[in-house]
């Protein structure tokens, strides 16, 4: 019962692939909503890794960390969406490439 039914490396590989799908979403898509969702994907990949390692080492510090990450992700999503709404109000268009005022 102590040993995991599924090897730890499976969880690591799954988490890595999902993280890179999220990275690809941020890099390729220009819709800020889908970019934010890709960031959520990356958060969840990291959380999965925390939970898997917590299970492997039988220590619930990983669970605490996932809890904190979820809180930060909620705050991040709320602020990101507020920025999207504000930009949409002034620009009437949501494309990240058009919002390059601070690009320098």
């Amino acid at each position: 019962m102590n040993a995991m039914a599924v090897p730890l490396s499976n969880y690591i590989a799954l988490s890595a692939v999902i993280f890179f799908i999220g990275v690809a979403g941020v890099l390729v898509r220009r819709n800020p909503l889908i970019m934010l969702m890709s960031i959520e994907l990356m958060f969840n990949a990291a959380n999965l890794l925390f939970a898997a390692f917590a299970r492997a080492w039988l220590h619930n510090a990983g669970h605490i960390f996932v809890f904190l990450v979820i809180t930060v992700a909620a705050a991040e999503a709320a602020i990101g969406l507020a920025i999207v709404v504000t930009v949409f109000r002034s620009a009437k268009n949501v494309d990240v490439d058009d919002v390059a005022l601070m690009k320098g």
Binding site: S9, A13, L33, I79
Partner: protein, 201 residues
């Protein structure tokens, strides 16, 4: 084992769907599927409380927030531009990056299998869920959260408060600073001249 593979395939498929969907609403649906599968994986990892807050916070709160914003923005005229197709530009760098990443992944996985313990008993036992002392039980989670990790927990309260105030300032009815139209133009002109002057030097 079979359960893990089914959930993993669901997670990968829904993640890909989320990233490639043409409409943001489809992405939200895909993300919902992804989060549900992730909550099930948490359950297989004995993280019951995480599975519950994954469903409540992510699927219940964050995705609803996304849906609200999509509904809000779609009520306008032409809300979402698909944008130019960037796949051709990034195809070759992406292939190179994927090969490098897979190399790192296989290397890291070979290391991990060598390092990971087969299950260190750290005072935790297995048993019926929900009892204190059982690994992953809500009782143990709450105890750890409110004793050892009380300071980080209080910090999350601060973060959430800052987020709430920030969202109100950003998206509220009252603008933070409503500059007169002429003043904005003047500052822009001054900045442009300053940049030009700097370029001359």
């Amino acid at each position: 084992m079979i359960l893990f593979w089914v959930l993993a395939i669901v997670m990968l498929a829904s993640a890909t769907w989320c990233v490639t969907a043409t409409k943001p609403v489809y992405s939200v649906v895909a993300l919902l599927l992804h989060f549900a599968a992730l909550a099930a994986i948490y359950l297989t990892l004995n993280a019951e409380f995480l599975a519950v807050i994954q469903m409540i916070v992510y699927s219940g709160a964050i995705l609803i927030l996304f849906l609200f914003v999509i509904a809000l923005l779609s009520s306008g005229v032409a809300p979402f531009s698909v944008g130019p197709n960037r796949i051709p530009n990034i195809a070759y760098p992406a292939i190179v990056l994927v090969i490098i990443a897979l190399g790192f992944l296989t290397w890291a996985l070979s290391r991990v299998v060598a390092v990971a313990p087969s299950g260190l008993p750290s005072g935790s036992t297995f048993g019926p869920a929900g009892t204190a002392g059982v690994f992953g039980s809500v009782a143990d989670f709450g105890k750890a959260l409110f004793t050892t990790n009380l300071l980080p927990f209080e910090m999350t309260a601060l973060i959430l408060m800052v987020a709430v105030i920030g969202v109100i300032l950003l998206a509220g009815d009252q603008p933070i600073y409503d500059a007169p139209k002429g003043r904005v133009e003047e500052v822009r002109r001054q900045m442009r001249e300053a940049i030009l002057r700097e370029g001359d030097q």
